[in-house]
């Protein structure tokens, strides 16, 4: 094994670099990449950089970019190490290659191992018969379903009695099933068929009877109370199966197992332990669970994170010539790689002369055992590589000399971080660049040991450090220490909470990134009441509940019921408003408005807690806005309460973000601190293992061969040993986060730190360890100041006033922002009576209107054959109409088509070059025009009957619309508009008078005028020698249902030049 230097590494082959914490692992990776691109000429698209988290992929890409820019600069200035290390290397070629890589930086593949696997399955899977189903990360409920079904199946196959007694019932079974979901393949023993359970009861009875027959030899054993022994034996005698034995009796025997080894007691211990058949049955259950789970995922057409890696390995195995062409493969955090992931890489990238694969990892930092990670696998790979492919990095660039030396002294014992992995001393890389911590002008040692590091003393210590920093007596180099420099590392969340709360008492602000989702915060839960109240503003109880939340800020000190307060009515009104706003403008506006009227933002207390609450609330609203689109208030309340009730840990999206950057001390868990560094670390927890679970079917651990789920009675010892090693690694990670100093406490027996000390005292650890007392201080530190900001103000308000209006938008009361929607022709439905005949009985409504319009538009679009009409009607028949109306509609359309619109002109006979269906128009209105003025200008038409606008308002913007049809006959251009309004049950209802009335009621004459104006402008722009008197024809409203009436349902008026010119003059912008 050799110390790693990029220039020593061969240009191909597989290599493993063991890089201790802070030794510049990423730097080494980057150097390798620079060399590979600049010197060896690897193409950017052939480089693959693989790591474990999405966050680090993004960080790595930034680092690659930085290094590329830096390296190009260095090369230009002839300062690059590349030129020094590789004499034959041409600088210009190097600059060229690196510049190209910089330009194509996104071609360099930087992936998480899962991302890579998903890509691999997507890109190659379907072609070789491996489906690429979407990855589902939340499979908890599916697992529960599978467990229930599996239990049911077992009952069906084996009978309820036996299954219940072996599993302890459904609830117990589902909790035991947790073992099956661990990402560990090896189950000890392995059992794919159900063992014969028939003899299990009789076997127990026989063994029990045999022992009871010779019970006296048990009683003869010395060293226990006869009375309790009798009680427990009595309990066993009563039991019909092993599961019937009361737990305390089983415990009684198991606890004394070691004390009486080699005596008759052993047989009794054996009796209370699970039998071989029982263990086999458990193994069989786990096997079934796994199989059924796979099957279920497959049935649902989804996959999960574990399966996708296996699939990718299978894909890699089957690919031959098509596999990705990467020539440089760098794997970061290699200690976290498992067998399947390695299988994928191994198959995909065989050891070939033109390929370089470098794995970088630190087995001491493998801290994901709790997720079932396989820590032995790293070692196996390490062993499989030849000695010349193994490298190490041992120069720490992160920490000061005293921290590094202290670390070496502390770990210089019998310390194991994994099977066959020992600690090697480290060197400090830049001692001159990392100044030590000074207190009262004296340098302090790297490790500061404190008697009893209770949460109180951690807070006091922090307070002391911050106060000394503020006074200038505690410094790093010349910089006084601030809150930002300190990080408190904890193992358990409980400690973090305690420290945070005690900090409050001392006026110190601590920020702890809770693992819980932001929706579980109280302030988020209060939103449920508010949404409920928006959903039911008329429900007094809902409104009162909302009023009692802090968000709505009712004063509880005012006597009497909340509903008696004057603000209550106001709140209720606001809730009604919110419900309306929700419908019209969406939830965001509704909630904002409510918060505003209730002064929610101003009510937030100006403390760190208040700030955190406010940040959490806005964050929740972000997610709500995105996810809860289209929900009604009631649904939203349900959505929100489900989020609030969810017990799941937060993900990247629902994790609390730090609400502030400075003035607060960070608390972090050791797991969360991996990959990060802090100037001063206070290790506030003793690193202790959890007690091993009782009532379990088995334990999982990692031994020399890898991870295993052990169901046998011998699982405890190896599991305990594995846990100890895991804690050692955790401790290592915690202690290597510090740059300048670490504060830590003496610990109890049973903690990892205690074991590490191995009986040594502080003095024996050398000068880099020092014992201190937490100094008590009287100085008051400057307390945390909440960042505030005042809202920005406009000099002039912005009120929207510019709209596009169609005719219907124009006559609507609110004059709102209508974008090119058609006028709804029909507002009421047909009441079917006996008088109805022919098309009169076709139900009305907007849909029918649209259908008729669509047919006529289609027909006018081109020359159509008569059989095509029938076909068109058939295939476009709308859902709301009964198919029995089909022939009627067909007849109806035929009638319309044959109606004479101009002399000897029908829709049917018009050539397609003489008509234009649905031409669109757009007209710019004069600024500040009133609707009233538009109506008045229409009076220039001779046929105009005075009509008052529904509301007078300014109409700024453009008028837009579609005319149903424009046609040319005898050199004049005419407008046709189809109306399917229902005026009565038969033809008599479509007299001229009725049509005139209907026209006026619906303000159609104004539509006719606007269409005429549009036609005028259109012809003016397109027709050479246009003369309105010569070219404008009629405007025709065709009431389709009246087609059988004597007037053929037609309302016809001439488009008079004086009319359109007056309108144009009055209303339109003229450029």
């Amino acid at each position: 094994m050799e110390r790693f230097k990029p220039e020593l590494l061969p240009g191909s082959g597989r290599h493993l670099i063991e890089a201790s914490a802070g030794t510049g692992k990423t730097y080494a990776l980057m150097s390798l990449m620079m060399r590979a691109i600049a010197v060896d000429g690897h193409q950017p698209e052939h480089c693959l950089l693989m790591t474990f988290t999405r966050a680090s992929t993004r960080e790595l890409r930034a680092r690659v970019r930085e290094r590329l820019i830096e390296e190009i600069e260095l090369l230009k200035r002839d300062q690059s190490e590349l030129t020094a290390s590789y004499p034959e290397f041409s600088k210009d070629i190097g600059i060229d290659r690196l510049s190209r890589a910089l330009r194509q930086i996104d071609a360099i593949e930087i992936q998480t191992i899962h991302g890579f696997a998903i890509r691999l399955v997507n890109d190659f899977g379907p072609s070789i018969g491996i489906p690429s189903f979407p990855v589902e990360t939340e499979v908890g409920s599916i697992r529960q379903e599978v467990a229930i079904d599996c239990y049911r199946q077992l009952i069906k196959d084996q009978g309820i009695q036996i299954v219940r007694s072996l599993t302890g019932g459904l609830t117990a079974f589902v909790s035991h099933a947790e073992l099956a979901w661990k990402p560990i393949d090896d189950i000890k023993p392995s059992q794919t068929v159900c063992p014969d359970l028939s003899g299990i009861v009789s076997e127990f009875t026989e063994r029990k009877d045999a022992l009871l027959a010779d019970i006296d030899s048990l009683f003869a054993l010395k060293g226990m109370t006869r009375q309790s022994l009798e009680t427990h034996c009595g309990n066993i005698e009563k039991a019909t199966t092993r599961q019937n034995i009361p737990e305390k009796s089983a415990k009684y025997f198991l606890e004394r197992e070691d004390k009486f080894t080699g005596t008759v007691f052993d047989h009794w211990v054996e009796l209370v332990k699970p039998s071989d058949t029982e263990i086999k049955f458990r193994a069989y259950c786990l096997h079934q669970l796994r199989q059924q789970f796979r099957q279920r995922l497959n049935d649902l057409g989804i996959t999960d994170n574990d399966q996708v890696i296996r699939d990718a390995a299978a894909v890699a195995n089957r690919l031959k010539n098509e596999s990705p062409k990467h020539t440089l493969i760098l794997v970061d955090e290699f200690q976290d790689t498992d067998r399947h992931q390695w299988a994928m890489l191994d198959q995909l990238y065989p050891d070939e002369p033109d390929r370089l694969m470098v794995m970088v990892g630190d087995p001491k930092q493998a801290i994901y055992r709790f997720r079932g990670a396989d820590t032995a696998f790293y070692h196996q790979i390490r062993k499989s590589l030849p000695e010349q492919s193994l490298w190490y990095l041992d120069t720490v660039y992160r920490s000061s000399q005293t921290v590094v030396d202290g670390l070496n002294a502390l770990f210089d014992g019998d310390y194991s971080v994994g099977n066959d992995l020992q600690y090697h001393p480290l060197k400090a890389g830049r001692p001159q660049d990392i100044p030590p911590l000074t207190m009262n002008h004296r340098e302090v040692a790297g490790f500061q040991w404190i008697d009893s590091l209770s949460p109180e003393s951690v807070v006091k210590l922090t307070q002391y450090l911050v106060a000394s920093g503020q006074q200038g007596s505690c410094k790093i180099g010349s910089q006084p220490i601030t809150e930002k420099d300190i990080c408190i590392l904890v193992q358990s969340r409980g400690t973090a909470q305690k420290i945070k709360h005690i900090g409050e008492r001392f006026g110190l602000a601590f920020h702890y990134q809770n693992k819980a989702s932001i929706f579980s915060r109280r302030i988020a839960k209060e939103m449920v009441f508010i949404l409920e109240a928006i959903a039911n503003p008329d429900d007094l109880s809902s409104v009162t509940s909302a009023a009692s939340t802090t968000l709505m800020g009712f004063d509880l000190k005012i006597p009497g019921q909340l509903s008696e307060q004057s603000r209550f009515v106001e709140l209720q009104t606001e809730l009604f408003n919110a419900r309306d706003l929700w419908k019209s403008d969406g939830p965001a506006v509704a909630i904002t408005r409510l918060f505003e009227t209730c002064l929610t933002a101003q009510r937030i207390p100006h403390t760190l807690n208040g700030l955190e609450d406010w940040n959490v609330l806005t964050h929740c609203l972000e997610i709500f806005g995105e996810d809860a689109k289209g929900l009604s208030p009631l649904e939203a309340a349900l959505w929100w309460s489900q989020q609030a009730a969810s017990k799941k840990d937060a993900d990247d999206r629902t994790s609390q973000r730090p609400p502030v950057e400075s003035g607060v001390v960070t608390i972090n868990t050791i797991h969360g601190s991996k990959g990060l560094e802090y100037r001063v670390v206070i290790l506030a927890d003793e690193i202790k293992g959890k007690s091993m679970p009782k009532n379990t079917w088995g334990l999982d651990y990692c031994d020399h061969n890898g991870s295993v789920i052990d169901l046998t009675n011998r699982a405890f010892e190896p599991a305990l040993q594995d846990q100890e090693q895991d804690l050692n690694r955790l401790l290592y990670v915690g202690l290597t986060r510090a740059k300048h100093a670490i504060f830590l406490g003496f610990s109890d027996t049973g903690s990892a730190l205690h074991r590490l000390l191995h009986g040594r005292d502080i003095q024996s650890l050398g000068p880099d360890h020092q014992g201190i007392e937490v100094p008590s201080i009287d100085d008051v530190i400057d307390s945390f100041e909440v960042p505030t900001a005042s809202p920005p103000y406009l000099k002039r308000p912005r009120i929207p006033s510019w709209f596009f209006r169609s005719f219907s938008g124009l006559i609507k009361h609110d004059g709102g922002h209508d974008i090119a929607s058609k006028a709804s022709d029909e507002s009421y439905e047909v009441v079917e009576t006996n008088f109805n005949e022919k098309w009169h009985m076709v139900p009305g409504g907007t849909d029918t209107g649209n259908f008729i319009h669509a047919i006529l538009e289609w027909h006018a679009d081109e020359q159509r054959e008569s059989f095509a009409l029938e076909q068109f009607i058939k295939s476009n028949w709308p859902l709301h109409l009964d198919p029995s109306h089909e022939p009627v509609v067909h007849d109806w359309i035929r009638q319309i088509l044959s109606t004479e619109l101009a002399s000897q002109t029908t829709l049917e006979t018009l050539g397609s070059n003489k008509k234009k269906p649905e031409p669109q128009f757009e007209l710019p209105l004069k600024t500040g025009l009133h609707l009233q003025e538009l109506f008045q200008a229409c009076e220039a038409f001779s046929w105009w009957n005075p009509l008052a606008p529904p509301i007078d308002q300014t109409i700024n913007g453009h008028l837009i619309g579609f005319i149903d049809l424009v046609f040319e006959a005898d050199g004049r251009f005419h407008i046709v508009d189809y109306k399917t309004n229902h005026l009565g049950p038969n033809d008599h209802a479509y007299s001229d008078e009725r049509i005139e009335l209907a026209m006026e009621q619906a303000f159609y004459p104004i539509q006719a005028a606007i269409y005429s104006l549009a036609l005028h402008r259109w012809l003016k722009s397109r027709l050479t020698n246009y003369d309105p008197n010569k070219h404008l024809g009629d405007v025709i409203y065709l009431f389709c249902r009246g087609i059988g009436a004597p007037n053929r349902g037609i309302w016809r008026r001439p488009i008079e030049a004086q009319g359109v010119l007056a309108l144009e003059e009055c209303c339109l912008c003229t450029q």
Binding site: G301, N536, K557, L879, P924
Partner: protein, 944 residues
Amino acid sequence: MQCVFSNDLNTLVETVAGVLSAESFKSPLAPDWLIVPNQDTGRWLQIELTDRLGSLANTKVTTLSDFVWTMSDAQPDRQFESSLYWAIATVWRETYPQLSEPEYLQQVRHLFEIFQRYLTERPDWLVHPDKTTLPIQQSDSWQIDLWKAIEAQLTAAPHQKLMKALKEPNSERLDSIARIIIFNPDRISILALNALKTWTHQIPCFLCIQSPSPELWFTQGALELPETHPILADLCREKAKVFSMLSDDNPVEGYVQIEPKSALDQLKLQIFNNTNTPITIDHSVALVSATSPTQEVIELKRWLIDWLNVDPNRNLDQVHIVTPNPALYGPIVQRIFHASDLLQRLPTSPDPIIIQSIEVAAIKLLADTCRAGFKAGTIYTFLSDIAVRETLKLSDQQLRHIRDWIRESGARRGLSGHRHTLQAAKKRLLKGLMADPDSAFVTDSTPTESIEQTEGLDRLVGVLSAIEQILFAPDVMGLQEAIQLVERAVNRLTLGQVQSLNLTPFITQFADAEVSKTSVLQWIELRQKTGLSRPLALNDQLSVTAPQTIRSIPNQVVAILGANHDTFPQETNEHPWDLIAKNPRPGDLIESEKERQVLADIVLNTEDQLWISWIGKHPIHQTEELPGPGIVSFIDCFKGADTVEPMRKLPSGITLDSKPLQDSDTDSAVPKIQHTWTIHDFLSVAAEPAIAFLREKGGRMRSPEFPELNIEPLSIDTLNAFKMKQGFVEQALTQDTLIEFLTHYPELPDEIDLNEALQNYAPSLVADAFSISTELVEPSELTLGEFTLQVDGIKTIEAPRIVIKSSIDGVRGLRALLEGLVLFAMKPTEESFRLVTFNNRVTPFGPIPVDEARQLLKDWLEAICDRHAPCPLIAPLALKTARALNKDDSTLPWIHWSDEALAHQPEYQRIFQSDPHISENHLALTKSLVKPLLQYLGKSRGTL
């Protein structure tokens, strides 16, 4: 075809206006065709032209591909799409009968999409499917056979029609067009270019393209040269391909020289000249690295307001906000920009409300059910869909009831014949079991109404029947039959409002094919595909849209939000079977390149100021993150000679309002002393003062329960266990009645072991405690100074009190102790009062001498008597605190609101969280009121 090039969009618009105002030789009825890259650009162009020309009419605005299809009259219709789907589905099933259903469906879907793409992009391949004409590898040649098999089953051949139209144009159609203007297309496929070239001999046709630079930057290989400006090289690759295809023609050049007034202009000028020197950033470019989306928007608002404040003529119609994630940023912008104070408000356009039709919702429900089995949650989601609620006329209250009915009827996933199945649930609902007053849905707000009287029940039963129909039908059946089945189900789901989906005409030739239910539903779902787009607000309201919408629109101010690394430009996935991806041609659609091009266009077309922001910090690790790759190139252009960092990094978090609300006067409330108490009143107020106080106010803080409808209960969860214990105590259940209780309680899982339940929920000691029958105390009145306590309706001291928990350290224990205290205060006794907990322990309490008990009781009453002020005793912690005091009198326990004991009692936090002295007050009260009780509390033991 005439090409017009300019770097300036306004020049191009002017060109279009010029073309349109020129004389046309065709009839006015012949439309001008305006071909635009997207609808929003089209809309904007129409407005511009209307303003410039005074009106705009008979101009057909469309996209290039639409134009090609319309002119060739080959547009595949729904009929064709259906037969394509079914042809693929049937052929694929025959070829691979062993495929599992999800895999089969996925593959059919992919094939359908791929062949649809071939139809539009590579009809030439489909016309001659031959290994010699196709650039195809051996491993992909199965697609040829597949296509041949599919083609044999198709009735129409749009690909043939299109290819024919390219050779023999439809002159009649083309004659009907006056002029064609193609406005700044984002891509031109070879197919479209050929079509344009062949079809436009007789028609005036103008191709207006924005080119960032008059240099020949797009010639082969030029992009690779180091001297190409990085923005050209990085972001304009697609545009280069378009240009290289056109380069043979003689273009009209309308380049406009740029005046470098600002940094942004300098950049444009550099791109124009294809030179690259460092630029110092100024106000025209804002590059902001934020820590959260809300923070981005808050900062943007400030920035916009500053911009508007500079000049009163500036308007919001000159501002566009775009983001690759409008769904996230849309609501945030609405929230932050909205303010009732007009001087703080920037008007936004309303959020487009997504309403899908009831058929879509119904099909989705059926498809989900078919895929994942029966789940009650999906039914509820269906019923609460806006369209469904409107159609079925369901009120909020009815929906709330339906949610309860679903839960109480036990409508859950389950095996056939299982108690919790669909059928059983339906039966229960039909029998009206839910109307049982005992288990009736008691919500605070509604009068209890029998469900037979509400129409909500019909709706729910209708949905259950429809689901049942689908679930119980065989998996494979004739297509016609399957369609009828789905139509019947939809009919039922919509209570007859949707009569028919009118699908039969589309499947005539496949009517008898044996198909799976799921494939039918997939087909219907594919037909229903509706695009959700956010239109660009082109008036003076702000909208948040995707960047593509403004790509060919000149803007005064543009803000790009959320330009994060992995969202802009987004990664794209090509399917391995997609031969187009394997053999691309210039002008093919490449999603990620499209986004780069959009960015380049935005940079070129922004006239005044450009804002780009992204999330520059990992939310948890707090490590720095870069924006998207294109953005990084853009930022690099501003790394000027001086060392000013071009981007602004915002500190973490959202700040608080600078003006906090002052707390109202604390002493305003006049005490309202309650002198007369009933025993029950006393117990509830004393044991839970905060809850009683809030109740007095008319409020409640317990969240409404919304159970997860999809999950089968597995065990008796904590809450249900408590309910059971309570039921056990309140209904005085015996072992026999407990069994009945359990079977009538559908909240509990079917597999529950009754014996186990009996052991857990009816421990022997508690059962014994019930059997000790005792009398009630004589009604009497206790006078304690100014207070009167009316004692009535409580059991005598002999009756053991059952605390429904495993320990007495809690509110219930405290309540029991207080009950004991009252009894001891009534008359002297030597007997002690016994508390029985659910883990079979008995704790003796007392006896307390009468005088002492009375004094203590009086103290209690004094502490709680002011009904206008809550008693600051944190009851759930009282006994715990008292025990701590017992051990060490100087202890100073601190109230942590996150304490487990307070988790389910948010009232205390609500009332006291801002009280700085709460810990001290609580401690003092505990010392004087609770600690004295504790000294009479004996050691617990296991017998009565």
